[in-house]
């Protein structure tokens, strides 16, 4: 083993991760802005009209990235929760807590943009269809996670309780994803999948993928900002936070 290898465990300590995260945040904001400008200008200025749905289909450039992020953030949150339970690392619980509000935001936006898309296309804002209902449950899981953690004063116990909720709730993710296959739903099937060629025009696909990348970068930037705040709060009795804050004044 050479000593030049990066010791990744070093970054598992809040004291070393805090300044690193601070340096990364502006880069993720920059990337988010670039991808958003690219994706939105392709989606809203260049992409052709949809043959069936007219111009209303353009909601796809918001709805699909928001829905993907709402599911993906939950998986990442559950991953950190599991790591925290297994290895009892301080940073993992903070990561899970930092992700939950952003996940809840995207779950809400997925439902909101979905309702605004459903009204002109299906004639209704809402149906108790498998896809829509399981996404609503996802929003409730996020809210439940946040509320449960807020109700427990001791952060380590709050992490554990939250982790168990996050891990039990992860069963909902494949249900959301496969709901359009398993049940007859009003919601359409996947437009993009890993196994077959996408069923949409190239410009539409590029617009959607760039918007999704923008949402990724946004989520990382906001989660890093939030995890830094959580670190300061939880580590407030340590010397490094004291030293850091006395430097700032």
């Amino acid at each position: 083993m050479s000593y030049k290898e990066i010791n990744w465990f070093r970054y598992a300590s809040p004291q070393t991760f805090y300044p690193l995260a601070g340096k990364m945040i502006p880069w993720f904001w920059g990337l988010a802005a670039i991808f958003a400008v690219g994706g939105l200008s392709i989606g809203f200025l260049l992409a052709p009209t949809d043959a069936q749905q007219g111009e209303g289909y353009r909601i796809i450039f918001l709805h699909v990235p928001a829905s993907w992020m709402s599911m993906f953030i939950y998986l990442v949150m559950a991953f950190w929760a599991a790591v925290g339970l297994a290895f009892n690392t301080r940073l993992s619980g903070m990561m899970a807590s930092a992700l939950a509000p952003t996940g809840a935001l995207f779950a809400f936006l997925s439902l909101w943009t979905g309702a605004l898309w459903g009204k002109p296309m299906w004639g209704t804002w809402w149906v108790w269809d498998a896809r829509l209902t399981s996404e609503l449950i996802l929003l409730f899981l996020y809210i439940g996670f946040i509320a449960l953690q807020a109700a427990i004063d001791d952060p380590r116990r709050a992490d554990k309780a939250g982790a168990i909720l996050a891990l039990v709730g992860v069963v909902n993710i494949p249900i959301i994803y496969f709901s359009v296959k398993w049940w007859n739903t009003l919601h359409q099937g996947a437009s993009v999948s890993l196994t077959k060629a996408p069923s949409m025009a190239a410009l539409m696909l590029w617009g959607m993928l760039l918007c999704a990348l923008a949402c990724w970068m946004y989520s990382i930037a906001v989660a890093l900002m939030r995890v830094r705040r959580i670190m300061l709060e939880r580590e407030r009795h340590t010397d490094w936070v004291r030293a850091l804050l006395s430097e700032e004044s």
């Binding site: 111009e55 918001l62 936006l109």
Partner: protein, 72 residues
């Protein structure tokens, strides 16, 4: 460019309300989230600084008391 005029762009066929309703709400919420996080951070830092100052002045008073006692 797909559009011939700004009016056409804003109308989005007949779906302007739905498309812009999605865009505006998503932009507002995604704009608000980082602002709220930053505000929370500022409040927290102010609170912690107050707390540290209070603790260190308590500490000074405590050591004065001990010094006064040791003189007696």
């Amino acid at each position: 460019m797909h559009w011939n005029s700004l009016a056409e762009f804003l109308a989005m066929g007949t779906h302007g309300l739905y498309v812009w309703g999605s865009v505006v709400v998503m932009a507002l919420l995604m704009g608000a989230e980082p602002i709220l996080v930053l505000q929370g951070r500022k409040k927290l830092i102010a609170r912690l600084k107050r707390q540290y100052r209070a603790e260190s002045s308590e500490g000074r008073q405590h050591s004065k008391v001990i010094a006064a006692r040791s003189k007696d």
